[in-house]
């Protein structure tokens, strides 16, 4: 196994890079969309069922099926990595939206009431009170989504989007465990490292207000 790793270290590095890119862009998009959506739900609770419900439906579609279903779409299907990023973003959204909503809703009522009574505007309430107090819950959502997406991104290789899944699918076809592990081990390490880093961030945010 180690011989195989040594012989293919350049390819492992390239595919790890691709994998990181798929996951990184997807997570950035999911954060950029998910946090504002979660905030919106706290302001428009009536939309909660529709938004969280439709996201739960997406979650139930098996990854491989979603990739396949999106393939014929005009702009998305034109590039495999574009399609993969879109699908991964969809999967990452739910925990981020949900945790943003839960985190902000969890701010104690007297704290919110006092803030409003002291003359904070809606925007100041959000930035100075709600987001800082919800930050560690939001990061917890990002953490769950990241670990999940790192694993899921291996499937992106099935539609030719690259990443560590290349080794896994190749290994499966060759019935060669060394090749499978060349994809699986770096992906697992990546998940562990991302999880550890986000856990650290979460702990710091929690400690910031004890």
């Amino acid at each position: 196994m180690l011989e195989f790793f040594a012989a293919h270290k350049r390819e492992i590095a390239t595919l790890t890079g691709e994998h990181l890119w798929l996951v990184g862009i997807s997570m950035l998009l999911a954060i950029a969309v998910g946090i504002p959506l979660g905030i919106l739900l706290t302001r428009r609770p009536g939309w909660k069922t529709a938004v969280l419900g439709s996201n739960s439906v997406i979650q139930t579609i098996p990854g491989l099926a979603l990739f396949g279903l999106l393939l014929p779409l005009p702009w998305l299907g034109a590039r495999a990595d574009r399609l993969a990023i879109f699908a991964l973003t969809l999967y990452a959204l739910l925990p981020i939206i949900q945790n943003t909503y839960v985190g902000i809703s969890g701010v104690a009522a007297p704290v919110r009431e006092a803030a409003v009574a002291m003359g904070l505007t809606n925007r100041q309430l959000l930035w100075q009170v709600e987001l800082p107090l919800a930050a560690n819950v939001i990061v917890a959502g990002v953490r769950v989504a990241t670990v999940f997406v790192i694993g899921l991104a291996t499937i992106a290789a099935a539609i030719g989007a690259g990443g560590l899944g290349e080794f896994i699918f190749r290994g499966l076809a060759m019935v060669n465990n060394d090749v499978i592990l060349a994809g699986a081990i770096p992906a697992a390490l990546m998940a562990l490292i991302a999880d550890g880093m986000l856990a650290l961030l979460q702990r710091r945010l929690t400690r910031a207000h004890h």
Binding site: E113, A114, A115, V116, M118, G119, V129, H209, H210
Partner: protein, 217 residues
Amino acid sequence: MLLGPSGSGKTTTLKLINGLLTASAGRVLVEGRSVAEWDITELRRHIGYAIQEVGLFPHYTVEKNVALVPRLERWPEEKIHKRVQEVLQMVGLPAAEFASRYPDELSGGQRQRVGLARALGADPPILLMDEPFGALDPLTRAELQKEFKRLQQRLRKTVVFVTHDVSEALLLGNRIALMESGSLHGVYTPQEFVTKPDALVRRYVEAFQATQHIFQT
């Protein structure tokens, strides 16, 4: 002093004053102007607000909590710093010892003092207080009531104070507004209150006297 049982409309009245609730009929005048005519943010920063659960920001130090409204109002930092020292001194918490602490590092009584300091932060002419000492143990409560009375004699603010405690109303109030099931029963000075022949008022006074009984034997 707004005095009355739970559900009589004391807190509702208070929240009508700073626009946390909107009147379905009639007008609420603050300094001669209807609340609806005030810019709501300006009105609220003009009125200090202290509540029983305190509502201190748990992620802010004592200093940042007290400086909240002055910062929103963009006071110069130097002035804010001076004001925080001054207000903390007023409520009996030396800044040197307490300014950098977080709310969860304080006792209930200390938190309540910080809540009061925050309400006083930008030196508002009006203070709204909703049972601010309600959750404290009797000794701490008595101490804070006494200090608040002394502070009020010095500051001379317009204070609207919600309480269901007759002794607190008699101790701190200039005028006691008795509320009953959503309407105002009457407004009395503490002296009038203890001598009034009115039936509802009598019940409050008798309840209060019953607690004093022990001292007369």
